[in-house]
Amino acid sequence: MIKDGIALLKAAQKLDEEALTAIFDEFAPAIYKYTLRLCHDPIVADNIVGDVFAQLLEQFAAGKGPRTNLRSYLYQTAYHLVVDRSRYNQHTAPLEIAVNLNERGQSLPTQTQIEERVLMEALVTAMNSELTEDQRHVVILRFLEDFSLKETAEIIGKDVNNIKVIQNRGIAKLRKALGLHLEDE
């Protein structure tokens, strides 16, 4: 079993089946969640996950592919695929699909849970309606996927300072959109 990330990457570059399978098992759910947040469609997210790993295999077979940061590379590929698809299909489906998937089969919610759920739905709505595409990508990568500023800059292909500005503006927009709900709290 290959545990080290660099050893896993080197083994994958040699098309080691165990390493390639381990990469899929480790990163496929995270890529799916990230893609689902962006495109709001489970089937499209699943297809993008398939495309991401197919491209990874092609790159490894051609002697290319990531050399250091496999996670950033996979998210970057997913990001570009989502952007390409969004240019053709302007999906505006709400992100509630992803929110509600985790809450199936639960018992009746308490008062605080209902308030929190309303707040979360307002946040998701604000993310989809108020933020620009770059701001949404930066917010998701920074706060939902826990990427650093440098990694986010690498994935999106922009400068770190530019990422900081985009992040601050996105947070400010979300704060304004959620102002009433925060005052209610």
């Binding site: 098309l15 098992d25 799916y32 295999l57 077979a61 996927e145």
Partner: protein, 232 residues
């Protein structure tokens, strides 16, 4: 300060949203994994075939190096033989053209040697000048003094004119010789050397008729066409 606290609340909500997101559905994940494993097998098969070919090439290079060198020598010999045969057939097919080309190269210098001396030898060669000049002296010495005048300015021209004057003088007398002697320089003012043979030809034609008839038919010539020339 309020904005900072509100921003922190927004960030907290975002982190909660991270935890609340749904995961990959198990059936979709299993199907996607199977597809990925198939793609991986295809890629691995292609890579395996390529690596096997490389190793086979390496193995054959070590084991049968002597066989490859012998075969390469045979190939070289066959190529050289093929080139030689091709050159021979080409030479056989175009043998006429090749022979013509060789002949033309060989015959060119002989033509160049012959043509230039033929024009200049009559003028510059002193031996020929002496040979041609001897009858002039002999001819000009005996007859009229007009011949001596023409012989002095130019060596070669004077010989032919003098000869013609002699024969005309035999035929028609001193009046005709003076006319011919003055006529040739006037007609050949531009190129006197190139026109020297022409009077000799007229001399031969006239002399042929004149020698046969002139000497004997001096009186008869007056009766025929020559009388017309002499009357004026």
């Amino acid at each position: 300060m309020e904005n900072l606290s509100e921003d922190e609340k927004v960030v907290d909500l975002l982190t909660k949203l991270k935890d609340s997101n749904g995961g990959y559905p198990s059936d979709m994940l299993a199907a996607r994994r199977r597809t990925y494993l198939k793609q991986m097998a295809n890629v691995g098969l292609g890579i395996g075939v390529g690596a096997g070919l490389k190793e086979a090439a390496k193995g054959s290079g070590n084991g049968a190096s002597a066989a490859t060198t012998a075969s390469s020598k045979l190939l070289e010999m066959a190529l050289v033989a093929a080139i030689a045969v091709e050159a021979g057939t080409a030479a056989f097919l175009y043998r006429d053209k090749i022979a013509n080309a060789i002949r033309s190269r060989i015959s060119e210098p002989t033509v160049q040697e012959v043509s230039p001396p033929s024009n200049e030898s009559s003028v510059t060669d002193p031996i020929l000048l002496e040979a041609v000049g001897t009858p002039l002296v002999a001819a000009s010495a005996t007859p009229t003094p007009s011949a001596t005048f023409t012989s002095t300015p130019s060596g070669t021209l004077s010989t032919s004119v003098a000869g013609s004057n002699n024969q005309d003088g035999n035929d028609n007398g001193g009046a005709n010789t003076s006319i011919n002697a003055n006529a040739t320089p006037q007609g050949n003012q531009g190129n006197q050397y190139g026109l020297t043979p022409k009077p000799e030809r007229t001399k031969e034609s006239n002399s042929g008729g004149s020698t046969d008839d002139g000497g004997t038919d001096d009186g008869g010539g007056n009766n025929d066409g020559s009388s017309k020339n002499k009357k004026p």
